[in-house]
């Protein structure tokens, strides 16, 4: 028995048998499991809450699982009644349905025999629950509140913006990495310079530019301002600098146009870097909030994030819908993450951008 115990211990901490356990080893595992709880707990709680009924959501203290009280149809009553386990005065228990609650007592009826009515103090009864998943929380907002449209808007912005970003950034990176030309350093400084100016400090003038283009309340007004990214140019340039020049020279010998060299040779070879930038761009655009909040004020052009915020503001009591839509908003990113996790983490570690 002792052997198995120490074996398990060895497996868990992966130590050679001679080494002693340091207090930091115990602390590390404690910290990691606390971390799992803190990081995943909220998401799991969101998921569980998002399939509860409205009554279940408003309940305090809340139940962990989506349990809802069983409702029964009783002859002679229009609405279905809630079912309770009741301890009667003689000590026996019975399943009764509540007709009406008056203060701390409740008028109840036996669902099998509607003649039998009781007055029960409310601390003598317990709700009978069953496991029930309320998918309507997801379907209702999609049907009633246009969430499908917001979803489509978000996808439009994300896809188009990412395509534009990839094309123009890779073109600039190509020019800055393959060629030697006058003003190259100036262009580099210019690109670095834009790093110094985040959108938060030029909100008013960019709004002015967008207004002059007539793109207020248009998805293009959301897409265009962030399309050229200095980090993207640098990421791609850094990668393209490592490409062998012989290939390009050989293509020139074969009379390939510069544009053909760009898209037939350089782009395919830079796919790893382009993939990293694509993932980042998708993430930026899908999660974008402040700028769309300024540009989009009509509900038919809302993106998912803006709609969710507005929806939450208008329907503070409808947490069941809000939580379900929050789940819908985070799901695509979560899926991308589980599929491309390695790509993202190494991308961030090597570029230091987010």
């Amino acid at each position: 028995m002792g052997n198995t115990g120490s074996l398990i211990k060895n497996i868990v901490t992966q130590k050679k048998y001679k080494e002693k356990y340091h207090w930091t080893d115990y602390f590390s595992y404690f910290y990691l499991f606390l971390g799992v709880f803190l990081m995943f707990g909220p998401i799991i709680w969101l998921g569980l809450s998002s399939v509860k009924t409205l009554a279940g959501i408003q309940e305090y203290p809340p139940t962990i699982l989506p349990l809802s009280q069983i409702q029964v149809e009783v002859d002679g009553y229009e609405k279905p009644l809630s079912l309770y386990n009741v301890t009667l005065e003689d000590g026996s228990t019975a399943e009764l349905a509540e007709i009406k609650r008056v203060g701390i007592t409740s008028k109840m009826v036996d669902p099998n025999d509607t003649e039998k009515k009781y007055k029960i103090p409310i601390d003598k009864r317990e709700k009978i629950r069953e496991f029930s998943v309320q998918w309507d929380n997801y379907l209702d907002p999609l049907r009633k509140y246009n969430f499908l449209l917001y979803f489509k808007n978000s996808i439009f912005v994300t896809v188009i913006a990412t395509i534009i970003t990839l094309i123009i950034n890779s073109m600039a990176a190509y020019a800055l990495s393959i060629y030697e030309f006058r003003g190259k350093n100036l262009a580099l400084v210019f690109v670095i310079g834009t790093l110094l100016i985040p959108l938060t400090i030029i909100l008013v003038p960019v709004f002015y530019v967008i207004a002059n283009f007539g793109m207020i309340n248009s998805l293009w007004g959301v897409i265009l301002p962030g399309a050229a990214t200095p980090t993207g140019v640098f990421l791609l340039r850094q990668y393209m600098l490592t490409l062998p020049r012989e290939l390009i020279e050989a293509a020139r010998m074969d009379h390939a146009s510069e544009w053909a060299i760009y898209w037939r040779i350089v782009l395919p070879l830079s796919i790893p870097a382009i993939a990293v930038l694509a993932i980042f761009s998708i993430m930026w655009r899908w999660n974008d909030f402040l700028w769309p909040l300024i540009v989009l004020s009509k509900s038919e052009v809302y993106t998912l994030q803006i709609a969710l915020n507005a929806f939450h503001g208008e329907l503070t009591s409808q947490w069941n819908y809000v939580l379900a839509m929050t789940m819908v908003t985070l799901l695509p990113i979560a899926l991308i993450f589980t599929y491309l996790q390695k790509f993202i983490t190494t991308g961030i570690a090597s570029t230091g951008m987010k």
């Binding site: 590390s28 971390g35 030309f181 110094l196 938060t200 030029i202 265009l224 230091g352």
Partner: protein, 343 residues
């Protein structure tokens, strides 16, 4: 399983390839004559052009326009309707008897934002460095399931600010699960979001929760760059782990921690969205930060007029702070690159 994955991949590549090739051929029809006319030597300018136009339109021009907005008055967006007002907006923003007391300022909302932001950034950045260092050091140990734990700590970075704000609002509500848990253990309910002090604490916590994974990765990259033979030598000498940490790990990690410090400060000063969703800047103005002031003044003043000029002036103030922080960052990354070259 692997085969299926590859098939999916090649399927996507094929699907993307057709419109991509078509588009590229179409552009070539325009590019070929251009190359004939201006010559190969001038082609890089053509490649640079689209990106530079975007930068010009949405970064450089706005920078100038911002100055113009900040020195003209009125609520109109078009310059034809705006009157020159000189430094009026700046005077208004800085009209203060005592900068440490927001109530003595004419524009007390702005100064509350400044004070809240300073408070927020000091604690958020300090705790962020501490926790990302701790997490990175633990994740760098030989532990089972390291990849899993890494992705767990990183996961929240990908969530949108709205999602983060809503999830935590749902947990921290007066009748939320955290209060239920506290009450079940014999405590009293807290007003996590409706008491001024607690609202700020919650905001700092949520912001750290959401962004810690990013900084942990940076520190982790630094930890992995430390040559392992240093640790082997320390182990041979029988150095205690505490001493190894303070004498080897920490000094060698300093450049990375500095990067974390500057990056987190730059981001921290610009914090807006998740706090805006979580608390709405409230209760009162207790969690409203500078960017929220700019946003509210310029775009969301319900009832009163939108004051673009004042918002632009406040942006200029924020911009100068950020410029200072970013220059430090560029300097640090420069000196780091030079070091690499020396090695």
């Amino acid at each position: 399983m692997k085969n299926i994955r590859i098939n999916i991949k090649s399927f996507f590549i094929r699907v993307f390839n057709i419109p991509f090739t078509f588009l590229m051929h179409a552009i070539d029809i325009i590019m070929w004559p251009i190359q004939k006319i201006i010559g190969v030597r001038n082609m890089p300018y053509i490649f640079l052009l689209p990106n530079l136009i975007f930068f010009g339109l949405f970064v450089i021009v706005p920078l100038g326009v911002n100055v113009a907005f900040s020195v003209t008055g009125g609520a109109e967006l078009l310059f034809a309707n705006r009157e020159f007002s000189g430094s009026k907006h700046y005077n208004y923003l800085f009209d203060c008897e005592n900068y440490l007391n927001a109530n003595s300022c004419t524009e007390d909302f702005f100064w509350r934002g400044v004070h809240n932001t300073i408070f927020f950034v000091i604690f958020q950045v300090g705790l962020m460095i501490f926790f990302s260092l701790l997490t990175a050091v633990i994740l760098n140990k030989k532990i089972i399931g390291r990849g899993f734990f890494r992705s767990v700590f990183f996961f929240p970075v990908l969530l949108s600010p709205v999602v983060v704000g809503l999830i935590w609002q749902w947990i921290l509500l007066k009748n939320g699960i955290l209060n239920a848990f506290i009450e079940a253990n014999g405590g009293d309910k807290f007003s996590f979001l409706t008491d001024p002090g607690w609202a700020m604490t919650s905001s700092i916590f949520v912001s750290i929760w959401a962004h810690m994974g990013f900084y942990t990765l940076i520190v982790l990259a630094g930890l992995q760059a430390i040559p392992p033979n240093l640790y082997e030598a320390a182990e041979m000498d029988g150095t205690s782990r505490e001493r190894t940490f303070f004498r080897i790990t920490l000094p060698l990690l300093m450049p990375n921690l500095l990067v974390v410090f500057v990056l987190a400060s730059i981001k921290g000063v610009q914090t807006f969205d998740e706090i805006y969703v979580l608390t709405g800047g409230g209760p009162g103005t207790s969690t409203s930060l500078i960017v929220q002031y700019i946003f509210t003044t310029g775009f969301a003043s319900s009832g009163s007029v939108q004051n673009f000029g004042l918002a632009a002036a406040a942006s200029m103030v924020l911009g100068i702070v950020l410029l200072f922080l970013t220059l430090i960052q560029l300097y640090l990354s420069r000196s780091r690159e030079n070091k690499h070259q020396e090695i």
